[in-house]
């Protein structure tokens, strides 16, 4: 019980730090809202409606994109804690080392969820859905996805250690690859016509593609498919586990050697 309380307190601390970072909020909001209200609208004008209604296609995906970018910030917070020695303080707290890992992943998942929920509200205003209940049903599964994405970021922070330039480089590479090789920006039919089969399979299995597609379906008023929810869970799980193991081993190294 004490351990659980400690985990929740640490998670709350990290969660509030995310929302107190003014510059980050400015970046995220200006990027995501302008993607929704400017880019999606303009592309709707230059992409024939006979091919796709791009506004309807892209706005739900921006919610997923926002969640992804917010979840990735977990890595920056872990990297900062390692670089500035705050991690030594955390290790001295009456909380187990796996508890610290769980707290960070929980906070990462939760902050990404809360942030993307605010984008979802905007999306619901500009693109009303037939059944809001379906969209709400997606949220717990998106939370798992956000934890998985936070896990990727945690793994990057653990690998980069105190080298800031490498951490931000890894983060940007992962961000570009995961977003570009997904169906966030374009439908899978277009990808199939252009990319080789193995890359198309990767795009289909990409958790961002799965989440974006599920989100689009709910906006179209289609019932949520249990199979798609299961897919999101299965695609997120490996990232969460890899991130947790990488961060845990980084913490164990710090415990043993005093540094990474």
């Amino acid at each position: 019980m004490t351990e659980l309380l400690a985990i929740l307190q640490l998670a709350r601390n990290d969660f509030s730090y995310f929302f107190r970072t003014k510059w980050l909020m400015a970046v995220l909001l200006s990027l995501n809202l302008s993607d929704m209200l400017v880019v999606a609208l303009v592309y709707k004008q230059i992409i024939p409606i006979s091919k796709i209604n791009y506004f309807q296609f892209f706005v739900p995906a921006v919610v997923v994109m926002g969640m992804f970018v917010a979840a990735l910030d977990t890595g920056r917070r872990i990297w900062l804690a390692i670089r500035e020695g705050v991690i030594q303080y955390y290790l001295s707290l009456p909380i187990s080392t796996p508890g610290i890992v769980v707290a960070y992943l929980l906070a990462g998942g939760l902050s990404a969820m809360v942030y993307s929920a605010s984008l979802l509200l905007v999306a619901l205003v500009v693109l009303p859905v037939a059944t809001v209940g379906n969209t709400l049903l997606l949220l717990p599964f998106l939370f798992f996805l956000a934890m998985g994405l936070a896990g990727i970021s945690a793994a990057l922070a653990a690998v980069a250690s105190t080298h800031g330039e490498y951490f931000f480089a890894y983060q940007q590479v992962v961000q570009i690859l995961l977003l570009t090789l997904s169906t966030v920006y374009y439908p899978i039919e277009i990808i199939r016509n252009y990319l080789p089969t193995f890359l198309t399979s990767l795009v289909s299995a990409n958790p961002l593609s799965l989440a974006a597609q599920a989100m689009r379906n709910t906006f179209l008023g289609n019932p949520v498919q249990p199979f798609s929810l299961l897919n999101i869970l299965l695609a997120s799980l490996p990232f969460t586990v890899i991130g947790a193991v990488a961060y845990l081993s980084a913490l164990r190294t710090i415990q043993a050697k005093g540094k990474m």
Binding site: K22, Y43, Y185
Partner: protein
């Protein structure tokens, strides 16, 4: 002049050893053009722009220029925040040489970043004259200096709060890019929502992007009047750099960044 070169090298070597940032920019460009650009161009249909991938590639280079210019401005504030600037100010080098070295470093950094992407664009578009290539490069440099000057001009915010400065400049950057003709011609901004085109005319990127697109042979009917674009870009570079020098001359001496 040797002092200036030494100062330029002092700052530039951090970008080159290791060349993480430069490599990353080249990597982003390649992925964005050959995956995102290629795929989105399968969807886009603009009669005046038969190949949207090329239009997007040029726009992406303009965005990179903007990114490098704003980075130069932010780096200056960071230097003040971390104590490097007071060190530079204590050197036996005149203020004018110091500002010249900052500008030169920005220009060299921009050249390094754009070398590969620009070459790829020229290969993609092909069939260009030397004059058009020089005009495009000159427009990019002018935009880069203008943006750096704008960010330096805004640095007075940083002397109150560096957190607020980063929030303002990064938020502003995202909006300046979206409300510009970097990714789409002005006429479609107007069609998307009344007033968007009016806002876009305040973005320096609109003038930079249209000028570079024009120099690289895109249909002028989709672009702004080049005379206005040249005037706007020159005015931006001269005024913001002038303002930055004026403000910095009064702000940096003995002031600590918050």
């Amino acid at each position: 002049m040797l002092d200036v070169l030494r100062l330029v090298w002092f700052d530039l070597k951090h970008e080159i050893y290791p060349p993480v940032w430069i490599g990353l920019q080249w990597f982003s460009f390649t992925i964005q053009i050959f995956i995102y650009g290629a795929l989105i161009s399968q969807l886009v249909n603009i009669p005046q722009i038969p190949n949207y991938q090329e239009f997007y590639a040029v726009g992406f280079v303009v965005m990179m220029t903007f990114d490098v210019g704003s980075h130069a401005g932010r780096e200056f504030v960071e230097a003040a925040h971390e104590g490097r600037l007071p060190y530079l100010l204590s050197l036996p080098v005149s203020r004018s040489k110091l500002f010249l070295s900052i500008a030169l470093k920005g220009g060299l950094e921009l050249a390094l970043m754009l070398m590969v992407p620009f070459a790829i664009i020229l290969a993609l578009i092909g069939n260009l004259t030397v004059l058009s290539v020089i005009a495009a490069a000159a427009a990019l440099f002018c935009l880069g200096f203008g943006v750096a000057g704008l960010m330096l001009g805004l640095s007075f915010i940083a002397f109150k709060s560096s957190d607020l400065y980063v929030a303002v400049t990064t938020g502003l950057s995202a909006l300046l890019i979206r409300f510009s003709t970097v990714l789409y011609p002005l006429v479609f901004l107007a069609r998307a929502s009344p007033g968007y085109d009016f806002v876009a005319k305040f973005s320096p990127l609109t003038y930079g992007a249209d000028l570079v697109h024009l120099a690289l042979g895109f249909d002028p009917s989709m672009l702004l009047n080049p005379t206005i674009a040249v005037a706007a870009l020159t005015a931006l570079a001269v005024s913001t750099l002038g303002l930055a020098v004026f403000l910095l001359g009064r702000l940096v001496e003995g002031v600590k960044s918050g």
